[in-house]
Symmetry: C2
């Protein structure tokens, strides 16, 4: 039976705030039966996100089931990763209806005594996408033995397209006949791909080790490995995860992601985002002591700009950095894929 989600996003369904649901809607729309948001006046997800077609937005659990849902997806990934208390009723109702529960929260639904007991009683599987493997190690630089070219997305902040850019780039490189693999490092990437490790949910000493293992595993399936980035090297909350990922996956090169309309770190207005040119230099500097890695290109998320302003922002990013720039979702990213292919063909080995 195909999994068809009712994605719970109550009061949060929007282009930024319902990250997990949005990833599922963009990359696996056939698995999303409906979005539940009692506050949302829109009829379809297309009206809210600008993609997703006629997947309905519903106002009750029953309407979601009527729309064909046979599983519940927690559609948000809030800072701290806790389950909103008001949502417990829907989780309970889903388990009692025999629906699988999928969640990318730090709070593990399967470890909650009430839900665990209920799920056991109803024979329901709870998939906590962020639950780490039990046998992680400290990273040791093993990825240096790989023949594959490793590309990591990095960003000026969270939630501006590090996963989406890699998935769009994978699609382009696949169309071109490249053997390319994607390593999902967050709950949404894992949801879409069916495998991966949420590196932000592992014990801190093992961030690098998790990134190393993911990169090694992904390289089995690709001459080019696209690793999903996390956080930002200047994020006050998440920089540790970002650095563990950089020094564990040891990319040969970076793609830098940015949202031109964002001027400070989301939720931390005291941290201004440096100019792109500085961000390029900063990433190259922190990689250098372990394995030098250039920034190859810039991927912008211009969803909140008018088209002409978006095209101007791309041009400005190219002028500022001397690198190819694109909005992969809005205008495609053939030029970024070109840069990756060129680098893959010519990098020192």
């Amino acid at each position: 039976m195909t999994t068809r989600f009712l994605a719970i996003c109550d009061g949060k369904f929007g282009p930024i705030s319902s990250k997990t649901a949005n990833g599922a809607i963009r990359f696996t729309p056939e698995r999303v039966a409906a979005v539940l948001d009692t506050q949302c006046q829109a009829k379809t997800v297309q009206d809210v996100l600008g993609y997703g077609g006629d997947i309905p937005v519903v106002h009750s659990f029953g309407d979601g089931v009527a729309a064909g849902a046979n599983a519940l997806l927690v559609g948000i990934a809030p800072s701290g990763g806790q389950l909103p208390k008001a949502w417990r009723g829907w989780i309970r109702e889903a388990i009692q209806s025999g629906m699988e529960i999928w969640s990318g929260l730090h709070f593990f639904i399967g470890d909650d005594p009430e839900f665990a007991e209920l799920a056991a009683r109803h024979g329901v599987t709870i998939r906590d996408l962020r639950r780490p493997p039990a046998d992680l190690m400290v990273s040791t630089g093993r990825v240096r033995e790989l023949a594959s070219t490793v590309i990591l997305t990095v960003g000026s902040d969270c939630n501006m397209g590090k996963m989406t850019s890699q998935l769009e780039l994978r699609a382009i490189l696949k169309r071109r006949g490249r053997k390319v693999a994607f390593a999902g490092t967050g709950q949404t990437g894992i949801l879409i791909e069916g495998w991966g490790i949420a590196v932000d949910a592992v014990i801190a000493d093992f961030i690098g080790g998790a990134a190393e293992r993911l990169t090694m595993d992904a390289a089995q399936g690709g001459d080019i490995v696209l690793v999903e980035g996390q956080g930002s090297i200047i994020h006050p909350g998440y920089s540790g995860v970002t650095f563990g990922l950089i020094h564990g996956s040891l990319p040969h090169a970076f793609v830098l992601c940015h949202q031109p309309s964002r001027k400070t770190i989301d939720g931390n207005p005291w941290v201004p985002l440096p100019p792109l040119k500085d961000l390029v230099q900063m990433h190259e500097a922190v990689a250098r002591p372990l394995r030098p890695a250039p920034v190859l290109a810039i991927c912008l998320n211009t969803f909140d700009l008018p088209e002409s302003a978006a095209r101007d922002a791309i041009k400005a990013a190219e002028d500022e950095t001397g690198l190819p720039a694109a909005d992969p979702v809005r205008f495609g990213a053939e030029n970024v894929a070109d840069a990756i292919e060129r680098f893959h063909a010519t990098r020192p080995r």
Copy 2:
């Protein structure tokens, strides 16, 4: 009843490899009854470490108890933090003898079914020093509200004196009448101080939050807060922890620790240690986007150098960086304390 440890270090007792035991011996020798290492030929810890006096090295559990031990301390903190299988017998024996168990491993002894059951039966407390609090948050820059001056030790690698330097500096500043606090961020610091959070053992998203909370708590007790550093910004396994600590505690200034005889990252000979001058610049660069922080001084660990070479290394570090340098353990660190006091008095507020 005073806790008196039998520190288990079997096959590992030495200046570098028995980090947890060594911290206890250096800073709380009155709590260490004996060290157990069946491979060690020395009679006293002084013979092995150059400090610790006549605390005996014993070859059996019984000899440790005879020396006055009433608690067992796991004396090592190996990479990955697992319990050597061969040591399980000693843990079992200790619990059966009613001895408390203290451990700083990632492996939680209290979560092991056999040990948990045995401890419950014998009414024995198991203290897993690395077990994180359950209610950690993502960091948000709250430490910027503190009036205290925050100083973080950083290092070119692990295990070269980041905790020891802070504890020596605290002693000097206390003698000078300063209100100074220490924030322990690792198992040994927590063992010595009786409080703290092992930031390398928390969920990756909460490293910064743990550092923030520790710094806030320590500031209750000090105008100057000395935060114990962890890892290194160029460590392939641990850089994530280091960055989380930097961006969560947001120090006003750094003290950079280094071991002159070490040329590459321990266990990772493919990562050369950059010159001190570059390390100074790199730390200042990664702090700058959140809160600018200068490196104030260099603390060297010269334990493995002859005295004249040690003094030359200190002089060379000063010449290279233009900063005061010291080996706090071997020759004292009044000049480093001077630099901290000067900075505390004059930093922009």
